[in-house]
């Protein structure tokens, strides 16, 4: 090391004027205090320590941060409070009852739960392979020039409001399902029993398709994040063994990112469960449970959207709020699971705001 190569013999440079001050020099240093302290020094020294301002600032920030807890607690408690009537009257039967009859005051939410689960799961089946394909294409195959525009386009897909998707679905998707896709499915897959009965165009299938389109961007952008989080060395290690590109993606990338990808899918599920407007406009809004995807249905969210403002009577309103409570709790749990999985992969890097 060059800078260590000073030998005791090295002459100390000339300009260093050594004033021999021993370490044990007298403690009380006599200071030549300047006759008049400068304007700056006197200003700064009369300035307070700011400790009070510091403490109050920190407290305000903490208060605002805690307001996020407060919001969650407030939503939960107000929903419990307002749905008390229905909670006490029906208990757990509320979630197993198949009858939703406002006239006779009999409320069972099973058709809504069925509709929500059916549309969400079908939507996931449609969206996940596509989202994976897009993520693989963008991260691994896409020429650099196309990468930014394509990811921008998929993000735009996320920016389109639910009600616009609904509008488009009502006027474009519904006729397609009714006149083209439906008959085709009935002809070739009718034997499964999922595509029987009359096809009006509105129903579980249409709602699932529009849901799939809506949750695609979040799944694919999060999956992309998970895949980019896999270090390049993992890819190179697999490539060096003579793997083809797909084998590299499968072994080197997907296997490493799988927990995060599952998290992304669950996050998409959370979105699908709570999606309201587009579903309310395309699902047919009829509380029945049927095997055929052509049949109309109802989801938890769309039931609230459609019936809330016409709910007459406290029990009816309270039953609808209980549906909201159920939706709230389910999405909280689903999102919590998804976040834990996503964090497990991107730990260190802060999670992307979806």
């Amino acid at each position: 090391m060059a800078d260590r190569a000073i030998h005791p013999s090295t002459p100390v440079p000339q300009r260093t004027t050594v004033t021999a001050l021993a370490p044990d020099a007298p403690a009380a240093v006599s200071l030549p205090v300047p006759a008049a302290p400068s304007a700056i020094r006197s200003y700064l020294s009369q300035r307070g320590s700011g400790a009070l301002a510091d403490r109050s600032f920190g407290a305000i920030m903490l208060l605002c941060a805690c307001s996020i807890f407060a919001i969650v607690i407030f939503i939960a408690s107000i929903l419990v409070l307002r749905s008390r009537l229905s909670l006490t009257q029906f208990g757990l039967k509320f979630f197993t009852g198949q009858n939703w009859d406002p006239v006779s005051g009999d409320f069972g939410a099973l058709p809504f739960i069925f509709g929500t689960l059916a549309t969400s799961l079908v939507a996931l089946c449609l969206a996940v392979p596509l989202a994976l394909g897009v993520a693989i294409f963008i991260t691994e195959l896409c020429p650099k020039v196309l990468r930014a525009p394509i990811s921008f386009l998929t993000e735009l897909l996320a920016a389109i409001p639910s009600v616009v998707y609904g509008l488009w679905a009502v006027f474009v998707l519904v006729p397609i399902v009714r006149d083209q896709l439906g008959p085709w499915l009935a002809k070739y897959l009718g034997w499964t029993g999922f595509f029987g009965g009359t096809n009006f165009g509105v129903g579980l299938l249409t709602a699932s398709i529009i849901l799939a389109i809506m949750i695609l961007p979040i799944i694919s952008s999060l999956t992309r994040d998970m895949m980019t989080a896999v270090p390049t060395s993992q890819r190179e290690a697999v490539l060096a063994l003579g793997a083809t590109r797909w084998e590299m993606i499968r072994i080197g990338v997907l296997r490493n990112a799988r927990i995060g990808i599952v998290g992304a899918v669950i996050l998409g599920l959370g979105r699908a469960l709570g999606e309201t407007m587009a579903v309310a406009m395309t699902i047919g809004n009829h509380p029945v449970i049927s095997k055929s995807l052509f049949a109309p249905g109802y989801t938890l969210a769309s039931a609230i959207a459609n019936e809330f403002s016409e709910a007459t009577g406290d029990l009816y309103l309270s039953a609808l709020i209980e549906i909201g409570l159920a939706l709230f709790l389910v999405t909280i749990v689903v999102n919590a699971i998804a976040r834990v999985l996503v964090w497990a992969v991107t730990r260190g890097a802060p999670a992307r705001v979806a």
Binding site: I75, V163, S220, T244, I249, G324, I332
Partner: protein
């Protein structure tokens, strides 16, 4: 290692008769390799196909919107409230105004709280249990369906006041903005190098002043981006407004009265049986989308310019 001269060479010579060189030409290997290559191509093709399928609805929606919407846009759309059923003409001026009112209220309430919470997470709560808990809660809250916010605010404000109001709509949207703004603020503050905070602290600047004038100011482009993203996200929300702002066919200038909003009006018109109203729904959607896309695109431009040019 290979430089060690006295180590025995353990690798057999390639031409040794005991172990013939690896032969890539056997039939089985050729078939297997062909299979692998085919899978590779197939998956590549499927990925491209998936991308096309995903982009297609976007393009379809945009083209359809522009085709249907642009032909229905006229001056009256921006200047007149809706015409009564059966009459031609009319517009969505009151809804556009109403959306503006509700979004302003939401931003005034949601953005300061969100930024302050983000400041807490980045500057005070790092590594603390409370900080992690708040971060997690914010992420989870982000995923709560908007309709739930709607009925919660309905239960709190509308039920108390016994009438729908613009204010209630603003509160519902503000609650939705908070987690997004919080998380972006935190992320953006995390990109501000610690050294420049030290520079300010070292000059005797109190921590609160350092946070506002140095950390937040340096991160401000990114934080503005986050706020616009949150704004764009709630601008198109319909569900939380259904039972809070409720909608209004007429002009309303009071915060404690029901007020129209663009997404609400689009919804009402879309499910109506009248062609004239469908036409207006398309026009309204086009306006809404343009509003949102402009802000999202601005965000992209901001973001790609980089938050900290030259800062180190």
């Amino acid at each position: 290692m290979s430089a060690q001269p006295n180590l025995p060479d353990l690798t057999p010579p390639v031409s040794s008769p005991a172990r013939p060189p690896m032969n890539f030409g056997t039939r089985a290997m050729r078939v297997h390799f062909g299979y692998r290559k085919a899978t590779n191509l197939l998956v590549g093709g499927l990925a491209i196909l998936a991308t096309v399928i995903v982009i297609a609805p976007l393009v379809a929606i945009l083209i359809y919107l522009i085709y249907k919407g642009a032909s229905s846009l006229n001056v009256a759309f921006f200047t007149r409230p809706p015409a009564p059923v059966g009459e031609q003409g009319g517009g969505m001026a009151n809804s556009i105004f109403g959306s503006g009112v509700i979004l302003t209220l939401a931003s005034l309430m949601g953005i300061p709280v969100g930024i302050a919470a983000g400041v807490y997470l980045a500057e005070y709560g790092r590594g603390k249990l409370l900080g992690n808990a708040i971060r997690f809660t914010a992420d989870v809250l982000n995923g709560v369906p908007s309709i739930v916010m709607g009925i919660a605010v309905y239960s709190l404000i509308v039920m108390q006041q016994k009438h729908f109001s613009a204010f209630a709509g603003g509160v519902a949207l503000a609650i939705m903005m908070v987690p997004t703004v919080t998380r972006t603020t935190e992320e953006m503050l995390a990109t501000v190098p610690h050294s420049i905070r030290e520079a300010a602290l070292g000059l005797g600047v109190p921590k609160w002043r350092t946070t506002i004038s140095v950390a937040l100011k340096t991160a401000s482009p990114g934080i503005i981006t986050g706020c616009m993203l949150a704004f764009a996200r709630v601008a198109g929300e319909t569900a939380p407004l259904l039972f809070t702002a409720f909608g209004n066919q007429f002009w309303s200038f009071k915060l404690n009265e029901p007020i129209g909003a663009l997404p609400l009006q689009i919804y009402v018109y879309a499910i109506s049986p009248y062609d004239e109203w469908h036409r207006l729904a398309w026009a309204g959607s086009l306006v809404l989308i343009v509003l949102i896309m402009v802000s999202v695109t601005l965000v992209r431009i901001f973001a790609s310019r980089g938050v900290l040019k030259g800062g180190s």
